[in-house]
């Protein structure tokens, strides 16, 4: 072997590398794996690193331009974040909005997922498509009518007439104005995920639960949902993160960037910008603090999802 490769040294390094790869493709695969992995890690982690650089650099230095390493080590920014505005309340707002939305979405999507995944009825496919179509609507399409309703200034009328039906309550600046549209917008995805999972639970298990003494709904909560834990976790985490990071609706439905008006995380971050100053370092520090709970949630949930999938819970 050694003599053979020695004899081919005249072919040049590329040829040598090629012939070695042909004899031992594992090497190449491993090399490619590292290249790809490093590429993805760098591209996903670099924004974080950039945030840290920004947060640690004092604000006046930032305006002079920054490089790849922080110009100074201003850890105090992470404290200042809470001193300038009550950032923890903004986080709490986001957390409450995300939790409430996730609970509502999972609850409704479970019933819908049961219906679409386990029952046969005419028009099932069409109805499912309709629901999925909602998720293709740009959310901006709903903003103006929803804002109009949630301000509660004028009564809702029958279309094309002047006949007033009722005046909706004023929901603007309350969590309802955000939770309602969030739930509606994120439902289709969860329904889709849960339909797939619930549809895979063997009929025999549901039948067994019903003969043993549950109703259909009881069987859903006692057997189907526990067995679909990975799917429920997936749908829940996706919804939670989306709402936690939501900007567009919350920025409009909370009239000011004030935590008492249920302005969420993003609103809190924006409030470091005043009429005359923009504290980029506080933006960055607040962003890092805001992202931590979600990062922890993802790591925990990911373990659960993986363990749920590998436990082979559905094997009969």
């Amino acid at each position: 072997m050694a003599t053979e490769s020695d004899s081919k040294t005249s072919d040049g390094p590329l040829n040598r590398w090629a012939s070695r790869s042909i004899r031992n493709p594992e090497r190449t695969y491993r090399a490619m794996f590292y290249v790809a992995a490093i590429f993805f890690i760098v591209t996903t982690m670099f924004p974080f690193y950039w945030l840290i650089v920004l947060a640690l650099t004092p604000n006046n230095e930032i305006l002079n331009g920054i490089g790849l390493v922080p110009e100074g080590f201003n850890v105090y920014a992470f404290v200042e974040v809470f001193q300038q505005v009550p950032f923890h309340f903004y986080m709490l707002n986001s957390f409450i909005l995300a939790t409430v939305t996730t609970v509502i979405v999972l609850f409704i999507a479970s019933f819908a997922g049961y219906v679409f995944g386990r029952l046969e009825f005419p028009g099932r496919g069409v109805l499912m498509l309709l629901i999925l179509a909602i998720s293709y609507f740009p959310p901006a399409a709903f903003v103006v009518p929803l804002f109009d309703i949630f301000t509660g200034n004028s009564p809702i009328v029958v279309p094309f007439t002047e006949i007033a039906l009722f005046t909706p309550p004023r929901l603007i600046n309350t969590p309802a104005a955000m939770v309602l549209p969030f739930s509606a917008l994120f439902l289709p995805l969860s329904i889709f995920v849960l339909t797939t999972f619930y549809g895979q639970i063997p009929d025999g298990l549901e039948d067994a639960a019903r003969v043993e003494g549950t109703t259909r709904i009881g069987a859903l909560f006692r057997v189907i949902i526990p067995l679909s834990a990975p799917g429920v976790a997936t749908a829940g985490v996706l919804t939670f993160i989306s709402v936690y990071n939501e900007y567009f609706f919350s920025q409009i439905m909370a009239l000011g960037n004030d935590y008492t008006q249920w302005s969420p995380l993003v609103g809190g971050i924006l409030s470091y910008q005043t009429q005359y100053t923009t504290s980029f370092n506080l933006f960055a520090a607040a962003s890092i603090i805001g992202v931590l709970p979600v990062a922890i949630l993802v790591i925990v949930a990911q373990e659960r999802i993986v363990s749920g999938l590998t436990a082979g819970a559905l094997k009969e």
Binding site: P202, G204, A208, V211, A313
Partner: protein
């Protein structure tokens, strides 16, 4: 414990009728098997009893309650499923006590009942295990324990042994019979395996194409099948059938003739009939002394033999010059079961006789049985002598 009654139960899906006007009356404490080929509607019938499927028409009674529209949980039934259907996220104890916990029994009562049920099915020391840590037989026993722990009025078993290996299946069969003796609960058992049905049940309900063909004790189904379907389905290997015509002197076909007096057997000359005889009622001619009512000799040639150990199946070709395509082979073929010490070789010319007392006549058009046993019901012996005298020379 309860009586189960189905009255004119029909289940129609969009394009098929799964169950067609089913009438069943199952007595309290009886062990009844619903048996039939796959897709015959036996499982649907069971599901209508359990309440998992609502019938399109008809009524279901359990005990003295009409339960047609009641949900499964209020019917007092317990069910064992073909795919066992243990809840994979619960351990054995939680699986067994699932129904009790739903009904809010107190924990002492639950422990006591779980203990007793697991004793009956011999699951001691396994209560903490998860279903996926158990073998198929153990899981099936958990499923049975889950069913008996609630003291249901009726047990429904949907092919509970189908997924077990052959040895375990035979073992569980006897276990189930023992269980039935012990609990004395009504058991309705669905199977496609006629041997299972024959060995376990008090009565067999044979179902085909959603229609009840016959419901009788196993031996009655075996000895006096109501129609061609039951005759062919019950018994393994299957009954021999030969289609032919009734003449003045008896039955004639391309394969063989049997002499009898048509008027006494409920047929008249010119009728198209199918003659059925089980393999064990065909004898080589040298054993005809032991046959109560031997028929005329039938010339045949041995084709293939299948030694089973306790008996030998001999495939006989009764038709001369038959084409060896499958249809024709089927028509001219007669299966004979002989004792293992018989001296039978392949491709031999042989003469056989049928036991006239065990010959069945069926109407070829409707399939209904006309006559079981071609022996004059009133004066058995005299007709046999006559027939024999005629046939021998």
């Amino acid at each position: 414990m309860a009586r189960v009654k189905l009255e004119h139960v029909t289940k129609r899906y969009e394009d098929v009728t799964a169950v067609d006007d089913m009438n069943l009356d199952i007595r309290d404490g009886e062990f009844v098997c619903l048996v039939g080929p796959s897709g015959c509607g036996k499982s649907t019938t069971m599901e209508t009893i359990a309440g998992l499927t609502l019938p399109t028409e008809g009524e279901v009674w359990i005990g003295d309650r009409e339960v047609t529209r009641l949900p499964p949980k209020d019917r007092g039934v317990a069910m064992v499923f073909q795919n066992i259907a243990l809840f994979p996220h619960m351990n054995v104890k939680d699986n067994i006590s699932f129904g009790l916990r739903l009904r809010k029994y107190d924990s002492e009562e639950i422990d006591r009942r779980v203990e007793r049920a697991s004793d009956i099915v011999q699951l001691e020391g396994m209560l903490e295990r998860m279903p996926d840590e158990m073998s198929g037989g153990q899981r099936q026993r958990v499923a049975i324990a889950r069913a008996i722990v609630r003291n249901p009025d009726v047990f429904l078993m949907d092919e509970p042994l189908a997924n077990l290996d052959a040895k375990l299946r035979v073992h569980m069969r006897t276990e189930l019979q023992r269980l039935h003796k012990e609990l004395e609960t009504t058991i309705i058992y669905v199977t496609h395996d006629q041997a299972e049905a024959m060995t376990m049940s008090d009565r067999i309900a044979v179902i085909d194409s959603g229609e009840l063909q016959q419901i009788d004790p196993p031996l009655v189904c075996y000895n006096e099948p109501a129609n061609l379907f039951v005759a062919g389905f019950i018994g393994s290997p299957s009954m021999n059938f030969t289609t032919g015509d009734v003449t003045e002197s008896g039955f004639t076909s391309d394969s063989f003739d049997i002499e009898f007096d048509p008027a006494r057997m409920g047929v008249s000359p010119g009728d198209h009939v199918t003659l059925g005889v089980r393999p064990e009622d065909v004898y080589p001619v040298d054993q005809r002394e032991s046959v109560g009512h031997p028929s005329m000799r039938i010339d045949a040639r041995t084709d293939v033999t299948e030694p089973m150990g306790d008996e030998i199946f001999v495939y006989l070709v009764t038709q001369e010059d038959i084409e060896m395509d499958f249809e024709a082979a089927e028509a001219g073929q007669l299966l004979m079961s002989v004792s293992p010490d018989s001296d039978v070789d392949v491709d031999q010319d042989i003469q056989v006789v049928l036991d006239r007392a065990k010959i069945h006549l069926f109407d070829s058009e409707t399939g209904d049985a006309i006559q079981h046993g071609l022996v004059n019901p009133t004066s058995r012996d005299s007709t046999t002598e006559e027939a024999e005298a005629g046939s021998d020379d």
